[in-house]
Amino acid sequence: MASAQTNRLDDGGLIDRSAPLNFRFDGKAFSGFQGDTLASALIANGVKLVGRSFKYHRPRGILTSGSEEPNALVELRTGARREPNTKATTAELYEGLEAASQNRWPSLRHDVMSVNQLFAPIFVAGFYYKTFMWPAKFWEAIYEPAIRRAAGLGRAAGVADPDHYDKAWAHCDVLIAGSGPAGLAAALAAGRSGARVILCEEDFVPGGRLLSDGGTIDGVPAAEWLSRTLAELADMPDVGIMTRTTLFGVYDGGTYGAIERVNDHLPSPPEHQVRQRLWRIVAKRCVVAAGAIERPIVFAGNDTPGVMMASAVRTYVARYAAAPAKRIALFTNNEDGWRTVETALSAGLQIAAVVDARPDVSPAHRSLASKGGFPVLHGSVSGVDGGKDGVRKIAVSLTGGARAEVEADGLAVSGGWNPAVGLTSFHRGRPTWNDDISAFVPDGAPPGMTAAGAANGDFGLGACLSQGFAAGATAARDAGHNGKAGIAPVADDEAFSLTPLWHVAGKGKAFVDYQHDVTASDIELAQREGFESVEHLKRYTTLGMATDQGKTSNVAGLAIMAAVSGRSIPETGTTIYRPPYVPVAIGAFAGHHRDETFHATRLTPSHHWAVEQGAVFVDTGLWKRAQWYPRAGEKDWLESVTREVKAVRSGVGFCDVSTLGKIDVHGPDAGAFLDRVYINTFSNLAVGKARYGLMLREDGIVYDDGTTSRLAEDHYFLTTTTAKAGLVMQHLEFCRQVLFPELDVQLTSVSDQWAQFSIAGPKTRDLLKEIVDPAEDLSNEGFPFMGAREVTLRGGLEARLFRISFSGEMAFEISVPARFGDAMARNLMLAGAPFGVTPYGTEALGVMRVEKGHIAGPELSGTTTAADLGLGKMMSTKKDYIGRVLAGREALTAPDRQVVVGIKPTDKARRLRSGAHIIPKGQTPGPGNDQGYVTSVCFSPTLDQWIGLALVERGRERIGEIVHAHDPLRGEDYDVELCNPVFYDPDGGRQRG
C-alpha cells in the first residue's frame, strides 16, 4: 500500500488529482498524481533524503525544481532501461515508475562511504595529486580501483539499450527557446508577423515561471493569459510548440540541436515509437528566452536536506501543491525571495522567519511579516542544524554581530538570479557582468541569436513580455516577415533589489558545488596554490563539472575566487560554456544508426541469388560480397575456396564483380583527360580495347588502379577498385572541374547501372557461346585479349564484354544492365551447367590474384610507389600527369625501398600469415633489420602450398634468397624464399589463349 501523501496540499496545483499514480523509490511504494515530477511526488510524500554527494557521500535533498538540479539524482527505471543520474526534478511521474537513490551502499540512510566525511580534512581539492604515488605499481592495483568505485554516480544498465531513437530535421524562421512569458510573447509576435516559428520547451507544459509565480497580464490572471495565448498560437499553422524538448546547442550557420523526450513520460515507448528524438533545427533567427536560474548562497550546512531554492519552494507549492516543509525559513538577499513568503502563506504554510541580508526591507514586507507572525532578521544564515531527516534549526548571524536561532523544517534560499547564458555563450562568447543584477548577462551571442527576458537579465514580468515580444517581432522581420505583430502583452514589473551575497563565513562545510562537494575552503585552497584562473579553478577543484554543468555553482565559485584573489568578478571571468545545455542521451545522437543499421548496406545485383546459393558474405566497405559458396560436406572455408579455385583453373567459374567502381568518361577530351590522371597513356587506346591503368596522388604515391576501356571515340569506361570507387569519382571531378576546366569532359558514375561478372577458366568460351548471340565472334582473333565491346545475348539483351583477366585464366568480364544481374547469374549457371560452372567468391578471387601476383588493397597501402609495386615502367615520360613530379623525390626513388616480391615457405607444409615481418636469415630481429612485411597470403591449390606477397627492402634484387618470417604476435618464426610474385603462368599464355 502506498504511503499517504503527507505533504500534499489540499487544493491547488496543476496536478490531476483524478489520476493517481503509484511509484516506488528505493523499493518503497508511494503515490502521486498525473502532472507530478518524481521530485514533487517525493516532496508530497514528505521524503527529504534523496541522494548522496559525489565525494563525501553527504546526505542530500532536493534543491531545485528544474534541470539545474545538482542533488536529486536517481537511477530511473530498472533492468536494461535503467538510467543513471536522472534528475528527479525533471522526471515525469508515470504509473509504476521505479527509482533508486545512487552512490550509496548498502542503503541511502546507512551509507558506508559516508565515512569519507571523516577524512574530509585530507580529501580537500586536488589531494589526490599529492599522494597515491608510492609504490608506483599500487596506483593501478589498489588506489585507482578504490577511487573509481567510490566515484561515479549512478550505475549504467550495462546491457544494450532496448529503446530506439531517431533524428529529424526541422526548419523555421524563428526558433524560440523557452515558453515562459518572454518566449510566448516572442512566439506571438513572430507568429503574427507571418514567420514560421518553432518554440522549444523543456518542461512538459508550456508556461515557464508563470506556472509557479502567476501574476497579472493584460489585466487577467497569468493562467488565463497563458491558455488564451496557447490557443492563439495553436491556431497559427506555422507555429509549433514542442514540449519536452530542450534546445541544447547552437552550431554554425543557424543550426541548432534539440532533444525531444518523446516517450520518457511513459514506462516504455509504444510499439514503433522512439524513446527520444534528436532534432537538427535550421533557423534564420533564434530568440533565447530560457529564463534564469536562482542561485544559492554558500553557508555552512547549506547542503542539508530541506534547504531549497526559494523559487523551487514556490514551484512545489503552487504548481504541484506539495509542501517541501511546514514551517519554512527564508534566507534572501533580494526582493524576489520574498515572493516565496507570499506563496507559502497563501498555501497555509508557516513562515518561521525571513533572514534578509539587505540592510532594509520594504514596508509592505514588514506588514506581511506582522500579518504572518514571523520575524524579519537582518543578517545571514551561518549554520544549519539537521541531518538526513532534514532541517531542524538554523543559526543566524545578525547584522551587528548578535546570533539568533530559528526553528524550521525547511529553509528557502534566494541569492539572486543568473540568466541562463549557456546557449548565447556556446560560440565562445563571453557574457558580461551587470552590476544592477549582480549577474552575467549574454554577450557575443552567435549570429542570428538574441536573448530576451530573464535570459537577458530582465527579470520583471512586464519586461519579459515586452522584450520577448520585441525580440520575436524583430526576429520575424529579419527573417523576411513583415506582418502586423500587434500589441505586446502588458504586465507590471516586480521590484528587484539585491545586495550581493555569495558566501557567509563560518564554521563547517559550506558548499559551492553540491554534487562535486566543492566547498568555499576548496576554492581558497586552489587560490593559495596558484590555481587562480577560473579554468584552473574548475580543473583543480572540479567546480562546475558535475551533471548540472555548474548551473547552480559556477557564478558563486568565481565570486568567491574573486574575493580571495582580490579581483573583481568580471576580472575573474567565466569559464568557457560548453554544450550541451543539458546532458543528452548518447543513444539519441546515434538515432537509427546502431546495430545492423549502423551504416547503410550495399547489395550487388546478384545478392539474393547468392543468398539462395548459401553463400557466406563478407563486408567490403558498405558492400556485402559473397566470400565463398560452401557445399555440403566441406569442413571449412579453405576447402570450399580451394574447390572454387580448382574449378576455375580447370573448368569455368564466375564471380559478381559489380562492386568495382565504374565511371563513364565522355567528351571530346576524354582521352586527354585520362592521360593526365593515369601514369600511362589512354588517348592512344583504340576503340574496342581495354588497358590497365594506374593513378597516383599528387605526392607520387599510388592511389588506385583499374581497367579502362574505350567504347567510342569520345567515351571511355573506367573502373576503380571497390574500396576507392567514391573517392576516385571525387578526385576525377576535382581534376575535371578545378585542375583542367579547359577540357571538355563529362563524368558519371555508372557503378549501379551495370551488373558485372567475371567469367574465368579454360572453358569460359564454351560457356559464353551458350549465352552470347551466335553471331558474335569470341575467337582469339575476333575478340583478342584486352578487347572490349558491346555484344548481344541470346534473347536480345545488350551486354558489354571485356576480355580482361584478374585470375590469370582465359577470362571475360560481362556487364548487363543491373536489373538483369539476377537473371545473369541464373543464366550463367544454366549455360555453364554442361561445363561444371562454379560460382566463386572473393576469397577464391583473392587466391587467384595472389597466385598471379596482382596487387590489391594490402599493397595499395597509400605508401607505395609504382616502382615499389613493380609497375614503374608504366610511368610515361612523355606527358604530365598527377603525381609525376613528386614521385621523383629522392626517398621515393631510393634503391633500398621495400618492393613487392613473392614469398614461399621453405617448409612446403608451413602456413603463412600476413603481417609477419621479414628479417635477414640468421639475424636476431630488431628495429635495425626489420626489412619488410608480408602483405597478402593464400593457400594456393594450384601450387599446393601457401604463398604470399611481401614488401621487402631491395626485394627484387634478392629473388631466391632465404629470409626469416618473424611473427612474434602469433609466436611463429620460419624461413621463406623470396621469389617472383607471379606464381602462376608467368608468361601469361593462359589469359591470352
Binding site: P84, I122, Y129, K130, M133, W134, A136, W139, E140, P145, G152, L153, G154, R155, A160, D161, D163, Y251, L278, S521, R528, E529, G530, S533, E535, R539, T542, A546, T547, Q549, P580, A585, I586, G587, F589, A590, G591, R594, D595, F598, H599, T601, D619, R697, E698, D699, G862, R889, E890, A891, R913, S914, G915, A916, G926, P927, D930, Y933, L969, R970
Partner: protein
Amino acid sequence: MKYSIFSLARAALSGHKNWQRTWRDATPKDRYDVVIIGGGGHGLATAWFLASEYGIKNVAVLEKGWIGSGNAGRNTTIIRSNYGLPGNTGFYELSMKLWERMEQDLNYNTMVSQRGVINLYHSDAQRDAYARRGNTMRINGIDAELLDLAAVRKMIPFLNFDNARFPVQGGLLQRRGGTARHDAVVWGYAHAASALGVDIIQNCEVTGFVRDANGKVTGVETSRGKIGGGKVGMAVAGSSSRVAAMAGLRLPIESHVLQAFVSEAIKPLIPGVMTFGAGHFYVSQSDKGGLVFGGDIDGYNSYAQRGNMPVMEDVCEGGMALMPMIGRVRLLRQWGGIMDMSMDGSPIIDKTPVDGLYINAGWCYGGFKATPGSGFVFAHLLARDTPHEEAVRFRLDRFRRGAMIDEKGQGAQPNLH
C-alpha cells in the same frame, strides 16, 4: 614542499593554510638561455628536461593564457606506444617509458593508469594491418598482443558481438597503454620545473621574433615586453603556423578541429581504452566516472575550438554500434581543440631554416601521449643542437625528400590522417 600522504596529513592539521603555489608566478627576465613558447604539456616538459637532464635552468616558458589551456587541457588523455612505422615506434615507446616514471620524477600524481589500449578489428584486412603493426612493436621491444574474438569477448563482454553491422573479430592490445590525468601532467611539470628554477610566465603572448643582423632569432617580442633567448623553441601545436609565420615560415601543417566528449559520471563500466575499428569512436572512463570519448576530426581547417553536429553524431553512432549499452548514458560536455595536422600525420621536431628557432609541432591528435617524449627529445635538440636518436626521422625536410611517416597512408591530405 614535497607532496605525500604525510605532508597532506600535516597540512590538514593547519587547515591547509600552509600550501605554497604549485609553481612560482614568475615575471619575465631580460634574457634566458632558452625561451620556450607555449605553456602546454610539451613546452613545460621540455623545460623540465632541459633543467633536469641537461642542466640548463635559465629557461622561460611563455604562455599566452594560463598553462595547460590549449590542447593539454582538452584532450582525451590516452597514452600508448602502438605505432607501426620507423620513427614513430621508437619515439612513442621512449615517451611511454617516461610516463611510467613520471610521478616519481615529478613528485606529482599524474594518475598514469596503464589499464590497456585495445584497437578492435572487424575484417581480415584490418587484422593483417594490426598484425603488421603489433609485430613492429614486438620487434622494437614493445608489448603487443593480437587477440582473437574469443579473447576480446572475455575481456570486454559488453560489446555488440551479436547484431553488429561490422562484427568485432579481435583486437590489438597494448596492456601498457592507458590514460593519464591531463591537467595534472601540466601542473606536475610546472611544479617540478619551477622548483628547478624555470620561469613559467603566464598571460604572456608572443607577438614577434627578435632577429639580429644575420636573421638569427635572439628573442621574442611579447605582450609583456621583449624577452631575449639564446635559443627559442616553439611548442605551440594548434597555433604552429601562426607563430611560425612571424618568422616568415610556411609549414606543412593545417589546423583542424577535433571534438571530444565526456558523459555524466557513472560507476565503473569500461576497463581500459577501446577504439572501434569500423567507425570513428574511441573511449575510456575517467577515474571520476565519465566516459571520455571522441572520433574523427571535423575535417575542415579551423581555429574556432568548436565543431559541428555531423561529427558529434558520427562519434555517438560509432559508440552505439560498438556498445549499445551506452544509449541511456548522457553526454555531458562537448569541446573542441585545434590540431596541428601535418601532411603525413606525424610530428615535426627540428631546427627551422631560421637560425636560433626550433620547432616542435605537427602532433595531429596524438600529442598528449607524446608529452614526456616530446619534452625529452626537444630538450635534447635545444641543448645539443642535434636531434635525439629517437627523433631523427621527425625532420622538417622529410616531406621535401619524400621520407614521409604516413601511418594511415593518406598522403598530403591532413584531414584524412
